[in-house]
């Protein structure tokens, strides 16, 4: 087995990746904290997500040091998920449209936050359970 010497790496690389993951997580939290919205929010959140996932898989899970056969077994199959995501997004958008157009759902409904509900101090969650 090649493992005994194959998985021995200097600790420095783990510290660097660890630090990077902290910084990237802080950045993704900052996106929410500073209320970045719209396309910019999507772009930043997805970018930080892909970077973090990549660093964890590549270095913490040792994929960069594995042989091609194992790497392709790990990373190949999940690629088909992109097709599933694409199909469900298109189909979902179509269903939403039919609900607006034929079922009379309100296009301009507004979400409530906890603040909108807590004015009434007698409100308790348990009453809603049925």
């Amino acid at each position: 087995m090649a493992t005994a010497e194959g998985e021995q790496h200097p600790l420095g690389i783990y510290y660097k990746i660890w630090g990077l993951l902290f910084v990237l997580s802080a950045f993704s939290y900052a996106v929410d904290y500073f209320e970045v919205q719209g396309a910019m929010r999507w772009a930043l959140v997805l970018f930080f997500m892909v970077m973090k996932a990549g660093f964890i898989t590549a270095f913490f899970m040792h994929v960069v040091w594995e042989r091609m056969a194992l790497v392709l077994t790990i990373l190949g199959p999940p690629v088909v998920l992109l097709l599933l995501i694409g199909l469900m997004a298109v189909e979902g958008a179509y269903i939403e449209e039919t609900r607006f157009n034929y079922r009379g759902h309100d296009r301009n409904a507004v979400a409530l936050g906890p603040d909108d509900l807590h004015h009434d101090e007698t409100h308790h969650g348990e009453e809603n359970a049925h």
Binding site: Y29, M88, R107
Partner: protein, 224 residues
């Protein structure tokens, strides 16, 4: 089956299938336990992906507005509520545990049993902390009236997605903590002294995977 001595392979039926796929060759040059863990993790990827794609579909199709996660997961420490703070702390806890796990794997291969044992224990403690904070999060939302079938904030589907996705992830973390403790105790007892310390890398793969799944849940469920 092929006759090892002559190298003959069968020409038909189940035996030919087995011969063609085995052919006395090894595809993955890693310990079998590690290859099996990877195959399990690839299949687990599909389970979590199905949940997240199901969430995408529920969120796209619903005509009720999606609840504002940033406000719902806000927490106040005396002053104004800080948006999403608990989830951010949970993220940092899990990343820290991934770091200690990576170091445990490293010290395992160096044969440093004491450091490996303690680093795995620290990882397990961070994992348990994460689950504890998740229980706090669940109780808070349940107290506010969030149920798998209803919630006071907006789209009904929010409750079912929240409990399903974070619940299944929490179950993975809990299982991981138990697995970690089991491996840590066996490391200390000297169970792997002759066998080699691949097991630490295998449990590490599982642990990093749990962290990896959280990266996606954090982005798609809490931030977007």
């Amino acid at each position: 089956m092929s006759d090892a001595a002559t190298g003959e392979i069968s020409q038909e039926g189940m035996e030919s299938l087995v011969d063609d796929f085995s052919s006395d060759r090894q595809a993955y040059h890693v310990p079998w336990g590690k290859a099996m863990m990877w195959i399990f993790l690839v299949s687990d990827t599909f389970i979590f992906s199905c949940f997240l794609v199901g969430y995408l579909h529920a969120r796209v199709t619903t005509t009720q507005p999606w609840p504002p996660q940033s406000e719902i997961f806000a927490l106040s420490f005396g002053g104004d509520p800080i948006p999403l703070i608990l989830i951010a702390i949970m993220t940092f806890v899990l990343i820290t545990s991934s770091g200690t796990m990576a170091m445990a794997v490293n010290y395992g291969y160096r044969g440093d049993k004491v450091k490996t044992f303690w680093l795995i224990c620290v990882t397990a403690v961070f994992g348990a902390t994460f689950v504890g904070m998740q229980m706090f999060e669940w109780s808070k939302l349940i107290a506010e009236g969030v149920r798998p079938w209803t919630n006071p904030f907006g789209a009904t589907q929010f409750g079912s997605v929240f409990f399903m996705v974070t619940g299944f992830h929490g179950l993975h973390v809990t299982g991981g903590v138990i697995y970690l403790i089991w491996v840590a105790l066996r490391v200390r007892r000297g169970h792997y002294d002759n066998k080699g310390f691949e097991i630490v890398e295998i449990v590490g793969l599982y642990w990093h995977f749990v962290d990896l799944v959280w990266v996606f849940i954090f982005a798609f469920f809490y931030l977007l």
